[in-house]
């Protein structure tokens, strides 16, 4: 699929992983950490949204499940937070099965709306269960690593997550499962005519997507030492997941990584000039992507996109 030779990937990952060794600016490390976590989120969303073409706007549910599972299991049951992280992934998988079996019965905008509805139900429930979940106020999340050098340690912790997500994405991209997902995206009736069972494959895509998202959620919450409905169950994160993948290039391996870089840096730059700009930035980027660059930034480099620009509107209705 990718015409890239293998070594740029290696160079990229080595440079990234070794960053805490040669970059000592805490602010930059934190920024890159956020790029990494959101790249993971984008890669995970991509399984369902990019490859299978199902516009999930409820991925934050899994993000929050990861964050809360880690926090509450540590707090209430006295577990090691890493165990809580695993629990989060497992619970996310269960949630994915439940949510998927409800939402995947619906098509098009109804599906997207139902994913929002399910995520919001979870948010409202968490927000109002003061005793169990600390309600709207939230609580401190446990640290996955011990001081000193927390920035570096979190960084080293996030890298395997990125690496794993990247590997999973690469596998999906070239496997026959990945092709089945693409067929579902392009035309479900045709997909069925070539032996694809859309109901099963959509769930098979959602489950790893949810689990990886939960891991990202746990990592994020722990880094910022906080969970609350506004930070880990907020619909904005769902939109970000979709935006990152679309911005960089949906249904590509590198797309979400590019997207996260562009999005996080752009938001950061604007933030230094004006407060409260992230919504405008997200909104403008979404509009620009949809209208001018539906294949994402990566499409500027792909030959296939030059064919497509000749061939007609992207994702045109059948």
């Amino acid at each position: 699929m990718s015409r890239l030779p293998w070594w740029p990937t290696v160079v990229f990952f080595v440079a990234l992983t070794s960053m805490p060794l040669w970059m000592h600016d805490g602010y930059i490390l934190q920024l890159v950490f956020r790029v990494v976590v959101f790249a993971v989120l984008g890669i995970a969303w991509n399984f369902v949204g990019g490859y299978a073409g199902q516009l999930s706007l409820g991925h934050v549910a899994y993000f929050g499940i990861g964050a809360y599972a880690m926090t509450l299991s540590t707090e209430r049951i006295g577990w090691n937070p890493w165990l809580g992280v695993v629990l989060g992934a497992v619970l996310a998988a269960v949630a994915a099965l439940l949510i998927g079996s409800i939402t995947f019965r619906l098509r098009g905008p109804y599906f997207a709306l139902s994913t929002i509805a399910t995520a919001e139900i979870i948010r409202v429930l968490v927000q109002n269960q003061d005793t169990l979940t600390h309600g709207a106020v939230g609580t401190n999340a446990p640290l996955l690593f011990q001081a000193p050098d927390l920035d570096a340690k979190f960084f080293f912790g996030a890298m395997p997550l990125l690496g794993g997500a990247f590997a999973l994405a690469t596998w999906i991209h070239t496997s026959r499962f990945g092709y089945r997902l693409r067929a579902i995206r392009e035309n479900e009736a045709t997909a069925m005519a070539v032996g694809v069972n859309p109901a099963v494959d959509k769930l098979l895509a959602l489950i790893p997507s949810a689990m990886v998202t939960a891991l990202a959620g746990s990592m994020y919450a722990s880094y910022f030492s906080f969970v609350g409905p506004d930070t880990v169950l907020n619909i904005e994160i769902s939109v970000q997941a979709a935006l990152i993948a679309m911005l960089g290039g949906a249904a590509t391996v590198w797309g979400p990584i590019l997207g996260s870089i562009v999005l996080t840096l752009t938001a950061e730059i604007f933030k230094n000039y004006f407060e409260h700009t992230h919504l405008v930035v997200y909104g403008l980027l979404l509009v620009v992507v949809v209208v001018f660059l539906p294949g994402g930034v990566i499409s500027l480099f792909q030959r296939r996109w030059r064919f497509r620009r000749q061939a007609g509107p992207v994702g045109a209705r059948q």
Binding site: R176, R182, E186
Partner: protein, 246 residues
């Protein structure tokens, strides 16, 4: 001779419309059977019933001896029934080769193998040169060929062609006829077709089944069937039945 498809007393109702009314027919291995009939006769519905896009209200459908009544489309495909659609439905953002690979992946796990097999099919269909083009960029005739190629790729034994000739000019249609006659090279022993173009039906079909308003009204070798008065009446009305007006 083995019966590859048995369609027995199948009925389907859509609200007030009885689209399929106790229709029975069969396809033997090695045959090319065409369903013909005036518009609205329910021909495509029969295909949809066989391939599972629509579930029958009554009756049995058997493929190679196995009961497939009410099975899902993906199951029908995996068992060996390939189909094309009246309105061509390619996977537009994928290349021509990738489209066919969706079929060949059914029997080949690795991408390289699926791609190689896909190329063989494309070669046969005359699409090899366009293998790396996006399906959305193909003209209609090539898209129809791609649709057939994809179905072949799934390793089908029975291929159902729904108005594959529609929209093709005579030369293109001749090419498709030639290809259909060579299908056994790819393991497709039997073909079912829905067609309106009589010339094609006459030259290809070993047998013809005529539907009118959901019911089978005639069946037999093409030359016989077109002279059957019931068939003429269905298409043209009573005044044209040979032997004078009723």
């Amino acid at each position: 001779m083995a019966r590859i498809l048995e369609f027995e007393k199948v009925s389907k109702r859509f609200g007030g419309l009885l689209a399929t009314n106790e229709v029975s027919f069969h396809v033997d291995e090695g045959e090319i059977v065409f369903l013909i009939g005036p518009n609205g006769a329910g021909k495509t519905t029969v295909f949809n019933l066989i391939t599972g896009y629509v579930k029958p209200d009554a009756g049995t459908i058997r493929f190679a001896g196995q009961d497939i009544t009410g099975k899902e489309p993906y199951q029908a495909t995996r068992l060996g029934i390939g189909r094309t659609f009246q309105v061509v439905q390619p996977l537009p953002a994928l290349t021509v080769r990738e489209n066919v690979m969706l079929g060949t992946f059914l029997h080949h796990r690795r991408r390289a193998d699926a791609a190689a097999r896909a190329d063989q099919v494309l070669e046969f269909m005359g699409l090899r040169a366009r293998a790396d083009q996006l399906a959305s960029g193909l003209p209609l005739a090539q898209r129809k060929l791609l649709e057939v190629a994809r179905a072949i790729g799934t390793g089908a034994r029975l291929l159902l062609l729904d108005e594959v000739m529609a929209g093709l000019n005579p030369r293109e249609a001749e090419e498709v006829v030639a290809l259909i006659q060579r299908l056994p090279e790819f393991g497709i022993t039997s073909v079912g077709g829905v067609e309106h173009i009589m010339r094609i039906v006459m030259s290809l079909a070993s047998r013809v089944v005529v539907l009118d308003q959901g019911r089978k009204i005639a069946e037999g070798p093409p030359a016989e069937v077109v002279r059957d008065s019931k068939v003429v009446e269905a298409y043209l009305g009573t005044r044209f039945v040979a032997g004078g007006a009723r």
